[in-house]
Symmetry: C2
Subunit: 289 residues, 2 copies
């Protein structure tokens, strides 16, 4: 057994971020309307996703695959996802973004689907049903979960900003998660589209790793994300999807995606990725991709 | 085109509940550890689910299929689900229970998976991301969504009972849903395991249809559920899964499930199912299955 085979997913992620110098997570969310010219349907989704894995897996610390884009094609889409998953190199940390959450007996089957059958290193989960929806995923040894705290979408605040006991719900959720599971395997999803909330939440809960979506096409702040993603107990990740996958829709799409990933990695390095878990002070001018 | 083909899913559901005299929803959640003797694996899941559809579809107003139990087997599980779905008779209202919710562009693909590809009449959705996660499902003409308010699991209250502006979160969510979508197509999931909260919530939001899980194996109150499920604007449904599907694990499992469904339907009728949307006064003694 090699060192890579013995390491836990979090150990691998830590080592990889250190080696690459950037907490870059490349998001693979293949929308049929955004495929490169010449690709279409479920075959196009598969070719695009496998091309993105090939082009970016060495540059990225992690890949985040959004399962809904495959589920939209039913069993044929899932079969495509199984082949995409098989392409992901062993030492690349794989997040399956599915935002699951259900009563215990169902959550157990959701965990089997994502962590068992598809063998992801990590998943995204909704907090709405409480710990019943989360524990079955933690029963898979060494795997990582990211619980939604503050998401990156325009209507995120409708429920997440409701004030409960003087603080917004997303902060209460974050507080509950870190108290309930003082465990590096339990992180939070915190969107980069609200950089002030992101920095404030990092100050409030210094320990967990954050998975930070919303940078790039969604308008989030790259450097705020890089500075805030890592926790004291676990590394963090900053996800970019369309800014990398959609770099070109021409014949050069795969090369363009690879170059875009390298460019983002370099920008993260220059801005000071939080490799050691200690966030640097905020940069005076926040960059936007 | 027959009358059934022209009717919307909600029209069909209304007519069917009236004809059957009970708002019975049969839940199909085939756990591999709870299969009848002789069945196992994904083939066992499929045979069990198709047998339950055959045995109960005429007695039930609706069927609720939990997609996680199929997803656990990957593409083979999804292919089984596609065949189960094809067995559901045209005039039986089909709920796919998946508790989805994501940013808009992803929610659109989740809707395509469940309402497009699998052609469900209704789905369950999480409120945590706000309307972005819900609107793409309503873009499918005439389909119905049930947004999680108060779930039936033991840890439901951890997040859902947090007090915001003087009321528990689940009630704020319910209020937001009915104000945002004064539309009979938008209902709520409200568990029967907290019958007082269920009745209070019905009094608070009289209009929407409730999908009420948690009766039976989870210990919820059948008559509270039947009395409270229907709204002024839309019919409601009371779901039973294990109490019907698990009636026997012997060779007679299919017959036993059919008889159990008829028994529950008759009990609902006797207790006064709320066929016309007006709840009857609570019965003096709450029955438990």
């Amino acid at each position: 057994m090699s060192a890579v085979d013995r390491a836990t997913p979090l150990d691998r992620l830590r080592a990889r971020i250190e080696r690459l110098g950037a907490p870059l997570c490349v998001g693979i969310d293949p929308h049929p309307d955004a495929l490169p010219a010449g690709l279409s349907g479920v075959d196009g989704i598969e070719r695009f996703a496998r091309g993105l894995v090939e082009a970016t897996a060495e540059t990225a610390a992690a890949l985040k695959i959004n399962v809904a884009f495959f589920e939209a094609f039913g069993s044929a889409g899932l079969a495509a996802l199984e082949r995409v998953r098989a392409d992901v190199p062993r030492d690349t940390f794989l997040v399956l973004d599915a935002k699951r959450g259900d009563i215990g007996s169902t959550a157990e089957r959701q965990a089997e689907a994502l962590l068992g059958h598809l063998a992801a290193d990590a998943v995204t989960l909704s907090p709405y049903l409480g710990e019943d929806a989360i524990e079955p995923f933690l029963a898979f040894e060494d795997r990582v979960v990211y619980v939604l705290a503050r998401t990156s979408n325009p209507s995120a605040g409708v429920v997440q900003d409701l004030v409960t006991e003087g603080v917004p719900l997303y902060r209460r959720v974050a507080q509950w998660v870190v108290e309930r599971w003082p465990d590096p395997r339990v992180g939070l999803v915190v969107g980069a589209t609200a950089p002030d909330e992101l920095r404030a939440l990092r100050a409030h809960v210094p320990d967990p790793g954050f998975l930070v979506p919303g940078v790039g096409a969604q308008g989030g702040d790259l450097m705020a994300a890089v500075e805030s993603c890592a926790g004291r107990r676990a590394p963090g990740l900053v996800n970019l999807s369309r800014a990398i996958a959609g770099a070109s829709r021409g014949a050069d799409w795969q090369v363009a995606a690879g170059l875009a990933a390298e460019r983002v990695r370099d920008e993260m390095r220059a801005g000071g990725a939080t490799l050691d878990g200690r966030a640097r002070p905020p940069s005076p001018a926040a960059h936007r991709l």
